[in-house]
Amino acid sequence: MRNSLKSVVELNFEDEQSFEDSVKIIRTEYIKKALKSIVYIVVVLTVAISYLLYVYLPYIEKNFITDLLGSEGYSSGGHLFPLNLTLSWTLFSTCIFLIIYFLRLSQVKFTPSLIKYIERETKHAGFEFIRKIESVGLFMILTAVSIAILFYIDTRLIQFTDTSWSILIQNSLFFYLLISLILPIIFIFRNDKFTIKVKDNVFVLCNLHYNVRKKKEYDPNLLGIILTSNRLCSKFDKSGKYIYSKISEDRWLIRSEPSTISPFFHFEEYSVPINFQKQFLNIVLALNEWENNYFSILNSWNYCFSNDSLSYKYRIKKDDNLDKLTYWKFIPH
């Protein structure tokens, strides 16, 4: 059923026909979204190239980076705009950021209808589905600072000389400009995610496994949602590893491959739309068990260490093998 106000389609995966229809809708929305992203990229590139042609073609031997790094500073260059440096950097960094942002957006397969479906399922289970976009905010903050500094340079409130301090500040500024561009780009790939907040510092990440290419035969696993918990503990933590394995075994969670690059344990679960809520609850309850067992062990360790001096004083006989104490505390639910 189409919602006329938001043009978001209500997806249904209850039977074969509804599933096929829903997958078709998702595919169409995804293609639309990807095309939109490509159009935005073309617009950004057109603006950037137009600016470059207009401003820099006649003065190709001079550019804003040589201006910035040049020991004679700003005063020697010929400029078309009064705020050449500020304008050039803002345009350059914004274009690079937007192009990468839209490229990434075109790869993200979550579409409005699918987001709505997961939102509804999550809400019904009593939780909230959130789209985290941290890169844009970070980029805006860092770029605002860059603009402020470059504005002062453009208006000659800040001037560089040949002294070592001046060169150091110049290099630091150049380094900052690079960071202000690279850091938000890293955030696009690492931090812009779809998550479900479970409680403070506990969340579940959602990734989509979906083959856009058309398949003739019915495949209920065509559309998969991979649920990943927040990091649990280091892979070198023996008691953590034991508890992680036990909970994963009991709840039939996907076991991470030993070759995985991440040095931390995460719970992982695979779901299709029809069983999304059930699989989500499975990972949430696994996190609950983790908290109950792992943190009780940490508390017992703390208790152990805090009573160490006491036991020495009163010569209390303790178990030699501390590992036993650690594993012993774990009681599966």
Partner: protein
């Protein structure tokens, strides 16, 4: 004990007719715990198989088994709530399928009020299924309550 039926038989020498089964003190508790573990594993297997299946049929059957009791009347809304599903339409195809397959009976009292029962007369295996589900299976409704309770903890 590993959760294996063969290990269970070996541990208590049940298939060895020369040895008599003596259950006293600790061994009786162990014996009970081992059976409990096996049944719990079976319940998990039911649950996971139900999750793997593309239709909701298996979960609907489990919900009916969970809700069935000597003096209990189960209707479609109870099943919907037990599975924590937002709309009744989502379970209609599964109920229709289960009724057609003769696993459940649907008694239409009024147009909207339908009583659902497990068809244990035609499917005797459903009795042990019901017992396992009632004792070991945690319904989505119970899972949501547990998850919410934990989530709300500070």
């Amino acid at each position: 004990m590993s959760q294996s039926y063969k290990d269970f038989l070996d541990k208590y020498k049940i298939d060895d007719f020369k040895t008599s089964l003596k259950l006293t003190g600790h061994t009786k508790v162990d014996f009970y715990n081992d059976i409990d573990k096996l049944l719990k594993s079976m319940s998990t297997i039911f649950d996971k198989l139900a999750t793997i299946a593309p239709m909701r049929g298996a979960h609907v059957l489990m919900a009916i088994a969970k809700l069935t009791g000597p003096n209990k009347v189960v209707n479609k809304t109870d099943v919907k709530n037990c599975l924590n599903i937002d709309r009744l339409e989502k379970i209609q195809p599964a109920i229709a399928y289960l009724e057609e397959a003769n696993y459940i009976t649907v008694e239409k009292k009024t147009e909207k009020f339908h009583i659902i029962k497990l068809n244990e007369e035609n499917n005797p295996d459903l009795r042990v299924f019901r017992e396992i589900i009632q004792n070991y299976w945690k319904s989505p409704q119970e899972e949501v309550e547990q998850a919410k309770k934990w989530s709300d903890e500070i």
